[in-house]
Amino acid sequence: MPIEFDPPKPIVQTQFVLKTVAEEMMRSKSRYYDEHEHEIPWDYIEFMHTAMKAMGAGSLAPKEKGNGHEGEEQKEKRPPIAYQSLAAQIEALAWGDVGFYLCTPGGGLGAAAVQAAGTPEQRAKFLARFAGEKPTFAAMCMTEAGAGSDTASIRARAVLDEKTNEWVLNGEKIFVTAGDKSLTPYEKLGKGFIVVWASIDPSAGRAGMRAFVVEAGTPGVRVTKLEHKLGIRVSDTAAISLVDVRVPFDHILGSPTVEKTTTGFKGAMATFDATRPLVAASGLGVARAALEFLKEKLAENGIQIRYGLPRQKLTAIERDVIDMDIMLKSAWLMVIKAVWMADNKHPNALESSMSKVKAGDVGTKITQKVVEILGPLGYSREFLAEKWFRDAKITDIYEGTGQINRLVVARQILGYSGAELR
């Protein structure tokens, strides 16, 4: 198909629907939950669960490429758009409130990890629950106190108990998004799980890293702390301790053998290729919310942006708004290209990380600028601009910091290994 920029119709339709959801279910509650950290937005969770069931979408996690789910589409020879739809949905929800978006049931990064690194049997076994009666969560636990960006230095261990054929996990994980909702047995929620990254052979470094599914309720796994944060306060960020946690052998995602390769680590990276543009999309939703709010306020004050004039004739505000338009539009196109590549099975490690670099920059710059231009209105908690400023910053931190994604981009363009450029 030649170069084209018409958003697919199904995407436009969902965006339209989600705008209403965003306004009714999210924006109206944004401030409340920002000021009541650790309260759970049950209305939103239940609404989204019901809505997604009605749409036949059990999970926001992208469907396996080319398997049964997309069969009908392929028959009609329509280009696959699963990731594109997902990116558009996430952007639209994040426009409402990115913290709420992170409270969307359906498995989040946990399910994405199972999708990317699991076998077909594991996908069937672990992902079915998201289409169940109750809203259900899953989370991904990579980060530890001593290992953030440097994922290869995680200390969590998994040892095979040959007698029982079970894996025994020990470790301390931090900053787990939705860790609480995935593990704590709330009555309103279905039984969730966490995906825990641990080493099966510390001497093997990256090659020894594997992901394990730990079901909620497994003895020895426990939420030890909920963080207090700059923004996205409605989303729980948990510390999780694992003490002699036993999981069945087949809960290890992908291959259990430690060849001296980095298959396990590559599993994590495959997850990131898939999820980075989606995280980028969420950051851009926040940025668009802020920019649109600014434009509304300017219009209310009789300020028109005179698109088309040379820079020399523009006011400072016009320049800023135009620059923000450029940033936001181009960042969105980078996300779309990255997910379009994923849909069409083109390797997209470069585009995926570039979209995240860009969105991290754009999200923070736009929200910071909007607060600045709005002056007291921007700084006041009577409006949401200051909240978006706090929310947006996370895009440049999780799912690989801006620096880590720059490293990934640089390695790609320079053809360097991790050892050559660290």
Binding site: I3, F5, D6, R406
Partner: protein, 365 residues
């Protein structure tokens, strides 16, 4: 649907343009800039790629249909070779494309076949004016109707090949609106400056000041005839040409400095292995991609006749001008002192890079 795939035809075209840009333009660029001389044979060779010819329908002597998307792809690829050369090759488009877009049937019949029938021939256009706040939508050059003639007054700057031009389009303000007028060679009151423009870059491209002192042209020389023209799509096409050229120049600077950084050693490692350098390269690549996609989208919107195509083209242009400055500046930085020396092309690209904020009207897709 979204798609980022070039058609087979576009791929073939880009490959041909790429060869010319990489082998011919790039090889000649340094001397052309230093000697203020672009070999005519080089221009002819670029003309033979048939970019303009392929955008004009058979009825007017061409062999295709205009596509802004193909246009931005081709310009980016050619500007990767050399900007001045690209602008020279494309100068006749400055005359032909607005006629194709906004001319009357008679104007198309009268001029299009003539421009494209043979070898590259100097047809041009005069838009830029010598004022810090030059604005294509608020020109100082005026046109007034007197009987069945228009009278043009004002001064134009940066007009490529004005000296030898067979004819040029002069843009002037008619009752506050920018309109185009076809002015033939030697028209009374038309004075071409004796000396070439002296600019920070583009020394290879002969450009001139053009004075219009009560230049009279028949009313039928107004682009679009009595009802005139819609200047917006023409301006959008100029801005997209500048934007895609900016992407091409930036990409040239990026590739060059990237390769240099992989060779150059300092403190026992390649400088590309230092994050300060690697991160600059990552950001350069990212911003090039951002601008490129914005340019593609705007071009697609222009082709699809979307309402907001004009604004999108403006945004693509503004973004690309900033991007090109940032990227070319960093390319020089990555080469360090060597980047400052004219033996390496990055300093020229940096001079090019600063120009895109000013270059509206030097090319059109």
């Amino acid at each position: 649907m979204y798609s980022f795939e070039l058609t087979e035809e576009q791929q073939m075209l880009i490959e041909a343009v790429g060869k010319y840009a990489g082998n011919d333009l790039r090889a000649a660029a340094h001397d052309a800039e230093e000697n203020h001389d672009l070999p005519k044979k080089l221009i002819s060779k670029g003309w033979e790629l048939g970019l303009l010819q392929a955008s004009i329908p058979e009825a007017y002597g061409g062999f295709g249909e205009r596509s802004a998307v193909t246009g931005v792809l081709a310009v980016e690829e050619m500007a990767f070779g050399d900007l001045a050369g690209t602008l020279a090759v494309m100068t006749p488009s400055l005359f032909a494309t607005p006629i194709l877009l906004a001319g009357t049937e008679e104007q198309k019949q009268a001029y299009l076949p003539k421009v494209i029938e043979g070898d590259w021939a100097p047809y041009t256009a005069a838009l830029i004016e010598y004022a810090f706040d030059f604005d294509p939508l608020a020109l100082r050059t005026t046109a007034t109707l007197a009987g069945d003639e228009y009278v043009l007054n004002g001064e134009k700057a940066f007009v490529p090949f004005a000296k030898e031009a067979e004819a040029m389009i002069v843009y002037a303000s008619l009752e506050g609106k920018t309109q185009g007028f076809i002015v033939p060679k030697g028209a009374a009151g038309l004075t071409i400056g004796d000396e070439r423009e002296k600019l920070m870059s583009l020394n290879a491209l002969p450009m001139y000041r053009v004075k219009l002192d009560n230049v009279k042209v028949p009313a039928s020389n107004r682009l679009g005839g009595a009802s005139g023209m819609d200047f917006e799509p023409v301006l959008a096409s100029m801005r997209l040409a500048a934007a895609s050229a900016a992407v091409g120049v930036a990409n040239a600077a990026f590739e060059y400095s990237k390769n240099y950084a992989k060779e150059r050693e300092a403190f026992g490692v390649k400088i590309a292995q230092k994050q300060a350098i690697a991160f600059m390269l990552a950001e350069m690549r990212t911003e090039i991609e951002a601008s490129r996609l914005l340019t593609w989208e705007a071009a697609w919107k222009l082709d699809a006749g979307k309402d907001n195509a004009f604004t999108e083209a403006y945004l693509a242009y503004m973004g690309a001008a900033d991007m090109a400055m940032m990227v070319t500046d960093r390319a020089v930085q990555i080469l360090g002192g060597h980047g400052y020396i004219r033996e390496h092309p990055v300093e020229m690209w940096m001079r090019n890079g600063r120009g895109f904020a000013t270059f509206t009207g030097l090319a059109i897709i």
